[in-house]
Amino acid sequence: MWTRFAIVAVIAAAIVFPLFVTVNYFIHLAILAMIFMIVAQGANVIQGYTGYVSIAQGAFMGIGAYASALLSMRAGFPVWLSMLAAPIFTAVAAAIAGYPALRIKGHYFAIMTLAMNMVVFTVLVNWVSLTQGEPGLPSIPSPEAINLGFTEIAFEKRRAYYYLALAALVLVMWIVAAVVRSRVGRVLLAIRQNEPFAEAAGIACWKYKLFAFIFSASLAGFGGAIYAHYMGFINPTPFSADASLNAILAVILGGSGTLTGPLVGGALTVILPEALRVAEIYRLIAYGLLLILVVIFLPRGLVPAVVDGVRSISRRRKTP
């Protein structure tokens, strides 16, 4: 009951947020944070629930972004359709990459996915005839305006796009929650806890791992598509391995294997570097320090730590 109340309250707060914030820059940050929450939630599926650390989330974000942008610009797809096609496109790429990669485990898998990120990045930079390389793709169209009869919602407007990103995030959260609570989700948890045991119990683990990998990648691709049509311009830079590492950080900071963790972590990884505005260099050093401190002192992430804290306080109140 309380959880449901909390969900409604958070969504309501997110809906009224732009009405109280007048600074456009904050709206901009909020949109980026929500996009990154979607990408981080994808990382959470493979890393937090399945226990396989993938360092390719940035690459899949890039594939989604370029797929959606190019479909709408070159193939003449309506923007809405290409944004929905992007996750499917990313899923196909992830299936091709994941099938061989998931034959290996642990650090091997992590490094393999890192190499894949490098490959995708190099291709984005060098396949100039398709991606226009380092200078990037300019003037990517915004989604078509929706005519409601009495008014028209134009998505070039920052506030309208805020609601688009929010709707996408809620949709993603709903799907991820459904998956995690289903039988598939329990199998993924079993793989994280003890893969040989799950295998021995008659589960074809590779199918579930491949599903988790493809699912997580398609979420990244979806986030990438929303990013592309928001920014109106993309080049390979935001899709390097750094983005993948940021997604991992978001999961770890917030709390891996929890639904709310990536939301908190995703918001922090976008907003913290902005908030620590001393000077570019110092703030990244502070960011690195903070990271190390969180891992050493709050190894399970912020959300579980806060939840435990609240529980222990309420328990203390009950016992006189």
Binding site: V53, L284, I292
Partner: protein
């Protein structure tokens, strides 16, 4: 054609020897602690910058600067182990990986603060080019190869022939048994970080002399190091040597005969292929 072929093998071996130096440190740390020490490339760049600084600002000679930088690198390695990795030694491996990422950020930016954003080339007096039957061998590259070979042989002897090396191998094989035999795991881990970081610094200096020391170089270097680890097998010293040479030579061939823009893609595809055929790496025996 044959001349081209030999030329590319030579070029590949030179670059591969630097990859080997990076990979040796990574593989020793990984073999013993299971830590993917991502900050290794930044440590290498720190060494490159420091050497340049010692030579250009303080006027110290090339060789003494090189040795001083390696000593500083060893010290830095010990500090990293004590301050950052030691507290998470019993936590899941992902935690030490995140620590490594944090360290990468910090060292990278401290490098920028201390040495500036410009790329620098470590000056050497080695400018002659030797021509053997059409294969051009710049003197500098021969020295790089020789220095790398000396360091690799030195490290191998240290691990195989000395008491502390035996302790390192014992901890790698079976930590619990090593502790029971009275090996101080703490001092072994500090030793491993010192040795690995000194080798990493050496690689950074060689890169700085051969190409340049620049802010963006470190991540490329560490990723190549990990690629070597995959090729050779995680935790294997012979694997790091063979894998480094293989990666260097295949990159040189890819750049010369296929496409220099896609040389990294080709070397990573090679790595993926090796992983599929031999998931345990080329040199790792199937039984540990």
């Amino acid at each position: 054609m044959l001349i081209d072929f030999i030329q590319q093998i030579f070029n590949g071996l030179v670059v591969g020897s630097i990859y080997t130096l990076i990979a040796l440190g990574l593989t020793t740390i990984f073999g013993i602690f299971g830590i993917a020490h991502f900050a290794h490339g930044s440590v290498a760049m720190f060494g490159g910058y420091l050497t340049y600084f010692l030579i250009s600002a303080l006027g110290i000679g090339l060789l003494p600067s090189f040795i001083l930088a390696m000593a500083a690198g060893a010290l830095l390695g010990i500090v990293l182990e004590r301050v950052a990795y030691y507290p998470v030694r019993n936590a899941p491996p992902i935690n030490s990986f995140i620590i490594a990422l944090g360290l990468t950020l910090i060292i990278e930016k401290l490098n920028l603060l201390a040495f500036g954003v410009d790329q620098v080339i470590i000056p050497t007096p080695l400018v002659n080019v030797i021509n053997v039957g059409g294969v051009t061998m710049p003197e500098l590259r021969i020295y790089v190869l020789a220095i790398a070979a000396i360091l690799v042989i030195g490290m191998t002897l240290l691990i195989q022939r000395t008491w502390i090396g035996m302790a390192v191998r014992a901890v790698a094989q079976n930590r619990a048994a090593a502790v029971l035999m009275g090996i101080n795991v703490n001092s072994v881990s500090m030793f491993v970080f010192a040795l690995s970081s000194a080798l990493g610094v050496a690689a950074g200096v060689l890169v700085g002399a051969l190409f340049a020391v620049a802010p963006g170089v470190s991540s490329g270097l560490v990723i190549k190091g990990f690629a070597v680890l995959i090729l050779g097998g995680l935790g294997s010293i012979p694997g790091a040597i063979v894998g480094g040479m293989l990666l260097g030579v295949s990159e040189a061939f890819a750049a010369a005969f296929v496409s220099s823009a896609y040389k990294d893609v080709i070397s990573f595809l090679l790595m993926i292929l090796v992983l599929l055929v031999r998931p345990e790496g080329l040199m790792r025996r199937s039984s540990r």
